[in-house]
C-alpha cells in the first residue's frame, strides 16, 4: 500500500502528461492534462511550506537547547515572524498588513532583503579576484587555452578592454563574438545541452515507470 499507490500515481500522472502531447487539446486526455498541470502548482506549492517549517523547527530547537550561536537564532525567528505574520493578516484591517505595496511585508523585502541578497552575491567578485591570483594556473595546455580565452573575453566585454582590442587590425570584437562565442562556445554548449537533455529525459522516464524511487525516502 505504501509503495504501490505512489508508484501508480506517478505512472498515471506522467502517462497522461506524455500521451496528451500527441492528441488534440480538446479531448478528454487534453482536459485531464490541463487539470493535472494546474494540480502540480497547487500540491507542489505546499512543498514550500515544508522548507519553511523545517527551518523554523531547526532554529527553534537550536534556541531551546542553547546550541552554538543560539542568540543569533532568536533573531532569525523574530525576522520570520516579523515578516510572516503581518503578511498573513487581511489588508482590510490596515494597509500595513497583507503583501501589497505599502505593507510591512513589501517594505521589509524592498529595503532589507533585496539589498542584503544583492550584497551576499557581490562578495563573489572578491573570491574570484583572490583565486585568480593564488589558484588559477596555466598548469596544462588545456588550462592555458582556457585562461587565454577567458582573458580575451574579459577584455572584450568591458569598454576599456574593447577599445584596446580595437587597436589591433581587423575587427577583433566581432571576430570574438562570431567565432568564439557564436562558434566554438555555441557548439560545445549545444553538445552539453543535448547530453544534459538526454540525462534529464532518462531520469524523468525512470521516475514515471517507478524505477527511480529516490523521492520515496527510507522505509
Amino acid at each position: 500500500m505504501r509503495t504501490t499507490v505512489p508508484i501508480v500515481t506517478a505512472f498515471i500522472a506522467g502517462f497522461v502528461l506524455v500521451v496528451a502531447f500527441f492528441f488534440r487539446g480538446s479531448t478528454l486526455i487534453g482536459s485531464l492534462r490541463d487539470e493535472f498541470t494546474a494540480w502540480i502548482t497547487i500540491i507542489g506549492g505546499f512543498t514550500l511550506a515544508l522548507g519553511v517549517a523545517s527551518i523554523i523547527r531547526v532554529n527553534w530547537t537550536a534556541v531551546a537547547r542553547r546550541k552554538r550561536d543560539w542568540p543569533y537564532k532568536i533573531l532569525t525567528l523574530v525576522a520570520v515572524l516579523g515578516m510572516g505574520i503581518p503578511s498573513v493578516l487581511p489588508v482590510s484591517w490596515s494597509s500595513l498588513l497583507g503583501n501589497t505595496p505599502g505593507s510591512i511585508y513589501d517594505w521589509l523585502f524592498e529595503y532589507m532583503q533585496k539589498p542584503m541578497m544583492a550584497t551576499m552575491f557581490a562578495t563573489l567578485a572578491f573570491y574570484i579576484a583572490s583565486a585568480a591570483y593564488r589558484a588559477f594556473r596555466a598548469r596544462s595546455p588545456e588550462a592555458t587555452l582556457l585562461l587565454v580565452t577567458a582573458t580575451l573575453v574579459m577584455l572584450w566585454r568591458v569598454p576599456m578592454g574593447e577599445a584596446f582590442l580595437n587597436l589591433f587590425p581587423g575587427d577583433v570584437p566581432e571576430w570574438l563574438n562570431t567565432y568564439v562565442m557564436g562558434g566554438a562556445n555555441m557548439a560545445v554548449q549545444r553538445g552539453i545541452i543535448i547530453g544534459a537533455a538526454l540525462g534529464a529525459a532518462s531520469m524523468s522516464l525512470r521516475l514515471i515507470l517507478g524505477i527511480e524511487r529516490m523521492y520515496m525516502g527510507k522505509g
Partner: protein
C-alpha cells in the same frame, strides 16, 4: 492490474468536471500527426533506456570506458600514501537528494578502498546529517571489504557546521593545519569552491574536482590538477558502482547520442550537397 482499475476511477471522476467541454476545435485532427518525429524519438529513447537497464539488472557485462579522472584520483591517493599525509574528500555541499552528491558518495567508496589498503588517513567533512550517514556507511563498507575493519576510524566522516561559508572556513582551517597531500571535491559546489581550491593550492595539495555545475567548472579546471566535467562525474560513479539503474541509463543515453551523431553527419552531408531539405524537415519541432 491495479493501475487499470485506478485509471478507470480517475477517468470516471474526470467526467464529473462541468468545465470539461469537448466541443472546442473539433476541426483539428484528433491525433497530432505533425509530432510523429517526437513520438519516434520518445519511443526509441525509452526502449534504449529500459533495455539497457534490464540488461544491467540481469548482470550482462556492459562496457564502460575507464574515466581518466579516476586514474588521477588513485594516483593522488597513492602520492598521499608515499608522503604519509592525509587525503581530504568532500562529497559536495548539497543534501543527499541531489544527484551530484550521490555520485560524490559513490566515488568516496572507491577512495576509501585505496586509503584502507594503504592505511592512509582520510578526512571527509560533510554538511548534512543524511550525507553524514551515507558517507559513513560507504567508508565502513570499503574498509570491511579490504579486510581493514579494525583500522576504520569512526570520525573519518565528520559533520561540520551547516552554513555554507562557516563550513568552508572550518575545512580551510583543517587544510592549513593538516596539509593533506590530496584534496578531492566530488559533487555539487557553489561560490565556496573558489575558497577551497585556493586554500588547497596554498597548502600545496594535489586537487581533483568533479561537478556538474556549469558555472563552477571553469574555475575548478583553472584551479585544480584534474577536473571531471559534468556527465563524467556520473559516468565515473556508474563505472565504480556498476549500479544497474545508473549504468543502464548511461548506456541508453550513449546509444541515443551515437544515433544523433550519425543523423547529424548524414544531415550535414546531404545539406552540403544541396539535397538535404527533406531530411532536415524531418526534425522540425511543431
Amino acid at each position: 492490474m491495479t493501475c487499470f482499475r485506478l485509471s478507470a476511477v480517475v477517468l470516471s471522476l474526470a467526467a464529473l468536471y462541468p468545465e470539461v467541454s469537448w466541443a472546442q476545435d473539433q476541426a483539428d485532427p484528433l491525433f497530432r500527426a505533425d509530432r510523429i518525429n517526437a513520438l519516434v524519438l520518445v519511443l526509441v529513447f525509452s526502449a534504449a533506456i529500459l533495455l539497457y537497464t534490464r540488461w544491467a539488472r540481469a548482470g550482462k557485462p556492459l562496457f564502460l570506458r575507464r574515466i581518466p579522472g579516476l586514474d588521477a584520483v588513485e594516483e593522488a591517493v597513492g602520492r598521499a600514501t608515499e608522503m604519509g599525509r592525509p587525503v581530504l574528500f568532500i562529497p559536495g555541499i548539497q543534501e543527499l537528494d541531489d544527484i551530484e552528491t550521490i555520485a560524490g558518495v559513490s566515488i568516496l567508496g572507491r577512495v576509501a578502498k585505496i586509503t584502507a589498503q594503504y592505511e592512509t588517513p582520510l578526512m571527509v567533512p560533510v554538511r548534512y546529517p543524511l550525507v553524514l550517514a551515507a558517507s559513513q556507511e560507504v567508508v565502513e563498507q570499503a574498509y570491511t571489504e579490504m579486510g581493514r575493519r579494525d583500522s576504520y576510524d569512526k570520525d573519518t566522516v565528520r559533520y561540520v557546521a551547516g552554513e555554507q561559508f562557516a563550513f568552508t572556513a572550518t575545512v580551510n582551517g583543517y587544510m592549513m593545519r593538516e596539509r593533506p597531500a590530496a584534496n578531492i571535491y566530488m559533487g555539487a559546489f557553489f561560490a565556496e569552491s573558489l575558497l577551497l581550491a585556493e586554500t588547497g593550492n596554498a597548502a600545496g595539495s594535489i586537487q581533483i574536482a568533479g561537478t556538474a555545475r556549469p558555472e563552477q567548472l571553469p574555475f575548478f579546471i583553472a584551479a585544480c590538477d584534474y577536473t571531471l566535467m559534468g556527465e563524467e562525474l556520473y559516468a565515473a560513479s556508474a563505472y565504480l558502482s556498476r549500479e544497474p539503474v545508473m549504468t543502464g541509463g548511461l548506456k541508453g543515453q550513449d546509444f541515443i547520442k551515437m544515433i544523433i551523431v550519425v543523423l547529424v553527419i548524414i544531415g550535414v552531408v546531404l545539406v552540403t550537397f544541396g539535397m538535404g531539405d527533406w531530411f532536415v524537415h524531418l526534425f522540425e519541432e511543431v
